[in-house]
């Protein structure tokens, strides 16, 4: 459902041209649970931005359900994100002036869906925050804020969810619970989850790890859990 084809991203830095990603290609099937790992500066956040349509590649393309993201303008990508994509961020990125339920309603209201409040309530109850609906982010702990963020990401039943270091600002126990939540939601909803992390232990809980180094995919292998599936295809260039 998601294909990265010869993705390259370059930046101009003073007189130099910096290549952050170089000819990255892979495909991801619907329902996958994938981690993209690599050390700091490996290009994983840049790759995440390209896959989610938050940024445009210097060369190559991303196809999400046959839609070529590179050919779309920013508003078209935004609409696509509203329909098919969910996000979970390291710093939660909740809107501070909205309550938990209002934060979860936002993507539904932007799409113009009826029953946004009911759906938001259901999802928040699913993540265990049924009694914190009217709390503002500043009134929630880090773990609770991340659960609200997950609820928001799943509210519009996304085809694919991108999580950028979702446990980065949490303690290990809370982080474990967050990952378990993501796993169960992945199983229940069939959404594809792409996790970006530098935590190999967290990555090991997914079914496939794409490893980046210096902007290049150096390996793309199923994990132990993932060997049971056959959704790996890598077209890596030397």
């Amino acid at each position: 459902m998601l294909a990265a084809i010869n993705l390259t991203k370059e930046y101009q830095s003073g007189d130099h041209r910096l290549t952050v990603l170089r000819d990255v290609s892979f495909t991801i099937d619907q329902g996958s649970f994938i981690a993209i790992v690599g050390p700091s500066g490996s290009g994983k956040t840049t790759l995440l931005g390209l896959l989610a349509g938050l940024d445009t590649p210097s060369r190559g393309t991303v196809r999400l359900d046959d839609a070529d993201l590179a050919m779309m303008d920013e508003d078209a990508r935004a609409r696509l994100r509203g329909e098919k994509v969910g996000f979970v961020f390291q710093s939660f990125q909740l809107i501070p002036t909205l309550t938990a339920i209002e934060n979860v309603q936002v993507p539904l209201e932007l799409r113009g869906e009826d029953g946004a409040a009911d759906r938001a309530r259901d999802v928040l109850q699913r993540v265990g925050l049924g009694d914190r609906l009217d709390h503002f982010p500043t009134q929630l702990s880090g773990g609770e804020q991340q659960r609200v963020a997950i609820a928001r990401a799943f509210a519009n039943r996304p085809r694919i969810l991108f999580a950028d270091e979702p446990t980065g600002n949490l303690d290990s126990d809370t982080g474990t619970r967050i990952v378990e939540l993501l796993e169960s939601l992945n199983r229940e909803s069939g959404s594809t989850i792409v996790l970006v992390t530098h935590d190999l232990g967290l990555a090991g809980r997914t079914r496939r790890i794409i490893r980046l180094s210096d902007g290049v995919v150096v390996s793309d292998e199923p994990t132990d859990a993932g060997r049971q599936t056959s959704d790996v295809r890598v077209a890596a260039r030397a």
Partner: protein, 852 residues
């Protein structure tokens, strides 16, 4: 899903998301509140005045038609008026002239304005007196109804006797209101109403006396004033001297035109203030946008399009703009109700104050539009905030710089300019004037902006190494990223500019009066002295121990021809190149003859008198010579009481009219007018006011027709009138000074986070609260001082322009008042800055870091 449902959902997001921002947005939008208040107040007030004028138009004129002349009517006009009366036209008369009024019991005397009225005057409108029946009983005897100021200045009461010339009147009441008279005229010439049946008995209207003869007419059924004017105006205007005809509609148009012009001028001031408020809105919303970068990036991730994002925040800005404009309209309505009281001495009508929905609506609409279009400029940047900021956050200034590269910003900038022109058009009757107003507004704001820019840049150079750290840091804070220094200087400077200009002009005008006094040798003038009274007045003055220091014979005359061309021919000439101003051709001239040039005159062209020339020569005042299009060597023929005197122009003069001396448009050479009927103006120097009063009494006792003026009284009267004008203008200038305050609050609030972060950092590094306070003190003192400097420097320029081109006199900067205004404004800036920054002192570094 319908479009309206989608809009409703976006509105819900906008409402919820604005929770913590409403107060701040409202503060930014309050920048336009006072501008809206000014527009609503001025437009509502002028509408009220115009409506009152329309409703009272007949009472203001006193009749349907007025006929006025500076001399008695000719037999033809009298016959015409007689026949009009017989045909059913209501006729009522008033004769107005200046004379000395003497209180019999004390012999106190002063110059008064006598109005001798016929029965039935005025035809429309009521002259209100105390007691109420006094005016109605005027013709029941030798009664007089007087201005209350006469009783005060002459230490008299109702029931005392007042001598006017040879006739003694009983004061039966005081005037409370006279339709059409400005309150301030009582200060210039207090009024005395008497019945005209005793006019001859006073013996006051003698040769050379100046009087205004007015007749009021009530049209009979079926004849409109316009038709009457159409039929009879040619007859009256062909009279010599001309009889001026005015209908009630013309009078109303004149009054409302003057009121409209005043309203438009004041409205321009309000418009500039509103636009400055818009600049305050833009700078405040810019700071607001920077705080929303993260939220907008998240919304973009969640699927919001750029239009949806813009809509959400434009809606917030529009809602707060509406609230700000509503608050301004409310203040405007309150101001509208106070303006009649402030301006009561200058209004010709009793103003009936009522809400003016059209003015309120226009003010609201303009206010909301200005808030919206100025807020839109920085809000546009939100469209281009990348969702990538959620993953990799750049600095606010980097994000904004990239986001502001937007061609739509050009469209909005154009919309702002077009709005200014459109709003200026609403205040102008013609397109040219509207464009002129718009250019004036741009010029005012442009000059202020350039001054602000220059001063802000110059302030950078103030930070010398030798200065204390707290001062250097305060100076540096004026240039911190996201600073509001320029908009604060702009808005503070505008208020200071208005007030300082008013003070400078007032000081200069008052100073002119003082200078002229010092230059005059005399302080009392006697006028209307008949030829056979001349030596007698001189004797009385000498007998009182004083001396006549200057005297001038005065011969009334009219222009008959220039270079052989009769006046009637010149008046009929429609060729614009030859055209001479009608007033200079038709008016009565009061000329003199003398040997020497007066001390208040200077020959600018020609020679004073050429010896050996037997032709009567004249010296003409230079502006009059320009109006009459006469040059040296031209022949001018005068009608001197029926005798034609032909003269040759040998010089032109510059005359200092403000000097307390008899000054003349036309001076004849000696030997040309000695045998003409004449009267005299005689000036004396009398050291004390007690002696002045005694001398006036002595003269008027023997010669009741002779009037006199005490210079110190004139100066006090003019000063009194100027003070009334200045008080009214100061009230409005104070309001305009207040325009700067919300912008100052808004600007200070916009930099709150930066100041908090900085203050906290300093405290963490070891700065005491006192040191942090001193830094803020330095910052706001400098900001206030720069704003005041901008305003004061511009006010000197504008006051110079006004004195040179409007009042046509020299200018001297008035240091005292502007220093006070500048100091007050600086203090205000410091107080507001410290008050809004007090949380830096209050909070611990940890709490503040959490919030920042």
């Amino acid at each position: 899903m319908s479009g309206s449902a989608s809009l409703r959902r976006l509105m819900a997001i906008a409402w919820r998301e604005s929770r913590t921002a409403r107060r701040r947005l409202l503060l930014y939008m309050s920048s336009i509140s006072l501008g809206v208040a000014a527009l609503v107040a001025i437009d509502s007030f002028t509408e009220n005045v115009s409506t009152s004028v329309q409703n009272q138009s007949r009472a203001l004129l006193g009749g349907d038609v007025s006929l006025a002349s500076r001399t008695k009517y000719s037999p033809r006009v009298e016959a015409l008026l007689d026949s009009l009366r017989r045909s059913g036209t209501g006729v009522s008369r008033v004769t107005t002239f200046a004379s000395m009024g003497v209180i019999v019991k004390s012999s106190n005397t002063r110059l008064v304005q006598v109005r001798a009225v016929s029965r039935g005057y005025p035809i429309y409108g009521d002259i209100v007196t105390d007691p109420a029946p006094a005016f109605g009983a005027l013709h029941g005897g030798k009664h007089a109804v007087v201005d209350p100021s006469i009783l005060v200045s002459l230490d008299a009461n109702v029931g005392d006797s007042l001598l006017l010339g040879s006739a003694r009147f009983l004061i039966t009441g005081t005037l409370q209101s006279v339709p059409g008279d400005l309150g301030v005229t009582a200060a210039i010439g207090p009024r005395v109403y008497v019945s005209d049946q005793y006019l001859d008995e006073t013996g006051l209207l003698v040769f050379g006396s100046r009087a205004e003869y007015e007749t009021l007419l009530r049209m009979p059924e079926g004849l409109s004033p316009a038709r009457f004017a159409g039929r009879f105006n040619p007859v009256f205007s062909s009279e010599s001297p001309r009889v001026r005809l005015r209908t009630v509609a013309e009078n109303e148009n004149n009054l409302t035109r003057n009121i409209d012009q005043l309203g438009n001028f004041l409205g321009l001031v309000g418009l500039v203030a509103l636009l400055l408020g818009g600049i305050g809105v833009a700078s405040g919303v810019h700071a607001f946008v920077m705080r929303k970068i993260d939220t907008v990036a998240v919304l973009r991730c969640l699927g919001a399009t750029s239009s949806q994002v813009l809509f959400i925040y434009v809606l917030q800005a529009a809602a707060m703009g509406l609230v700000g404009a509503l608050a301004g309209a409310g203040v405007g309505v309150i101001l509208q109700f106070t303006l009649p009281w402030v301006l009561k001495d200058f209004l010709p009508v009793d103003v009936s104050v009522s809400l003016a929905p059209s003015a309120i609506g226009l003010g609201l609409g303009i206010g909301v539009w200005v808030a919206l279009v100025f807020a839109l400029y920085p809000l546009l940047a939100l469209r281009r905030i990348s969702p990538l900021q959620t993953l990799r956050r750049e600095s606010d200034s980097t994000v904004m710089k990239r986001a502001q590269r937007d061609s739509a910003a050009l469209v909005v900038a154009f919309a702002i300019l077009a709005s200014v022109v459109a709003i200026a058009m609403t205040r102008a009757r013609t397109v040219e004037r509207g464009v002129g107003y718009a250019l004036a507004v741009f010029a005012a704001i442009g000059v202020l902006a350039l001054t602000a820019e220059f001063l802000a840049a110059a302030a950078r150079r103030l930070a010398r190494p030798g200065l204390p750290f707290v001062v250097r840091q305060g100076i540096a804070n004026l240039h911190r990223p996201g600073n509001q220094t320029r908009s604060v200087i702009l808005s503070l400077g505008f208020g200071v500019f208005l007030m300082s200009t008013v003070y400078q002009v007032q000081q200069n005008l008052m100073g002119q009066l003082d200078v002229k006094l010092e230059q005059s040798r005399a302080n009392v003038v006697f006028f209307d002295v008949q030829d056979d009274q001349h030596r007698g007045v001189d004797s009385i003055v000498r007998a009182s121990g004083h001396a006549i220091v200057q005297e001038a014979p005065i011969v009334p005359m009219r222009l008959a021809a220039i270079n052989g061309v009769p006046v009637a021919t010149m008046l009929a000439d429609t060729n614009r190149r030859n055209r001479r101003s009608p007033w200079s051709l038709r008016r009565e001239y009061r000329s003199t003859f003398r040997e020497e040039v007066a001390t208040s005159e200077r020959i600018v062209d020609g020679t004073w008198w050429e010896s050996g020339d037997k032709t009567p020569q004249v010296s003409i005042e230079q502006d009059l010579a320009r109006e009459l299009r006469v040059t040296l060597g031209d022949s001018v023929t005068w009608d001197v009481q029926g005798v034609k005197v032909t003269t040759r122009v040998t010089s032109t003069r510059e005359v200092t009219w403000a000097r307390f001396e008899p000054n003349f448009f036309v001076v004849f050479s000696p030997g040309s007018l000695e045998r003409a009927p004449k009267q005299y103006a005689m000036l004396a120097h009398v050291p004390t006011s007690v002696e002045v009063a005694a001398l006036q009494r002595a003269v008027v006792r023997v010669y009741p027709n002779v009037s006199s003026l005490d210079l110190t009284l004139i100066q006090a009267t003019i000063g009194n009138v100027l003070n009334k004008i200045t008080s009214a203008i100061r009230f409005m200038a104070l309001v305009s000074l207040a325009f700067g305050i919300p912008v100052l609050f808004s600007a200070v609030a916009a930099t709150r986070r930066a100041r908090l972060r900085e203050g906290v950092l300093l405290k963490t590094l070891g700065a005491t609260r006192r040191q942090v306070g001193r830094i803020m003190l330095a910052e706001y003192t400098l900001m206030g001082a720069l704003g005041s400097l901008a305003g004061v420097s511009l006010s000197v320029g504008s006051a110079w322009l006004l004195m040179k081109f409007v009042f046509e006199t020299a200018f001297r900067p008035a240091i005292g008042p502007v220093v006070v205004v500048a100091a007050a404004m600086t203090l205000l800036a410091v107080i507001i800055g410290l008050a809004t920054g007090r949380e830096v002192f209050r909070e611990t570094p940890m709490a503040a870091l959490r919030e920042a």
